[in-house]
């Protein structure tokens, strides 16, 4: 909206003109502030969840329109040797149809089709790091990440995608066999 200040020398100037000018000025300023606020929208950080029990940690209620999700791991381990993975879903968790791999810095790794592979191997491993999920459009999500594995001093990398039928609203940290139980550490997510 074009905003022109009333001319006090204008013979048509009156209090109504000023009220109108102040109203327009106020609306312009508030619109500008709203735009700046939108541009400065910050990621929302969840509450860290202990991974000291359970076979899976599921985060629900991820809002529609989310474009990026960061999943953070601190000192997580399980009581078994089944690989760790992250699964996503719309309404329910998708347990197949993932395209991607997990790779050790020291060599080795594998293909994951049941989730985004995070790490594999020994029960004594505790891992640290994060996985980032980004929305490519049309409910196609890409995942990448790096975790450090304390016991062996190696890192694991992830690269994968998964197409969902609808908007992503949940994700799950679990194991491939689904029966190994988490016994240490914590996980949190941040979305934006």
């Amino acid at each position: 909206m074009a905003l022109s200040k009333p001319n006090s020398g204008d013979t048509n100037f009156n209090s109504t003109n000023w009220q109108r000018w102040f109203f327009d000025l106020w609306k312009t300023v508030t619109d500008l502030l709203a735009s700046v606020t939108a541009l400065q929208a910050k990621p929302t950080l969840g509450t860290a969840q202990a991974t000291t029990s359970g076979t899976a940690i599921t985060f629900t209620g991820i809002p529609a329109g989310t474009k990026r999700i960061t999943i953070m791991y601190s000192g997580i381990s399980t009581n078994g040797t089944s690989p760790i993975q992250v699964q996503i879903g719309s309404g329910s968790i998708d347990t197949s149809g993932y395209n991607g791999t997990y790779w050790f810095s020291g060599g080795g790794g594998g293909t994951f089709t049941t989730g985004f592979g995070i790490k594999s191997s020994a029960a004594t491993d505790t891992f640290y790091g994060h996985t980032v999920l980004t929305h490519m459009g049309s409910n196609l999500w890409a995942a990448s990440g790096v975790v450090g594995i304390l016991a062996t001093g190696i890192t694991g990398t992830t690269g994968a995608t998964r197409q969902l039928a609808g908007a992503l609203d949940r994700l799950r940290l679990t194991t491939v066999n689904g029966t190994d139980t988490f016994d240490a550490g914590s996980v949190n997510i941040m979305y934006e």
């Binding site: 969840g46 899976a56 985060f59 629900t60 040797t81 020291g106 594999s120 020994a122 062996t152 190696i154």
Partner: protein, 85 residues
């Protein structure tokens, strides 16, 4: 009893609940995925810094010790024989 933890980001509440019968049935049908020999070996090889330091110092005993540890890991996790044409 196997359980899972559900975290609702809208309320900030979390709860731990048992797996349902349907979920347990689904788990029982999953194929067993065993770690490969490479994955098991990497987890147990001695630190590469042991080799570097022994090599730099021309420490023949240290190099032999490192080699012996690696060979023990290789023997512990043999690779399956290669098949193909």
């Amino acid at each position: 009893m196997l359980t899972q933890i559900i975290v609702d980001l809208k309320t900030g509440m979390s709860k731990e609940i048992p797996l349902t019968d349907a979920e347990l049935l689904e788990l029982s049908t999953r194929p067993v995925v065993l770690p490969t020999a490479d994955q098991l070996r990497i987890a147990e090889y001695p630190p590469i810094t042991d080799f570097i330091e022994a090599y730099a110092a021309d420490d023949k005993i240290g190099l032999q010790t490192y080699k012996d540890k690696c060979l023990a890991v290789i023997a512990k996790y043999p690779k399956p024989p290669k098949t193909g044409v």
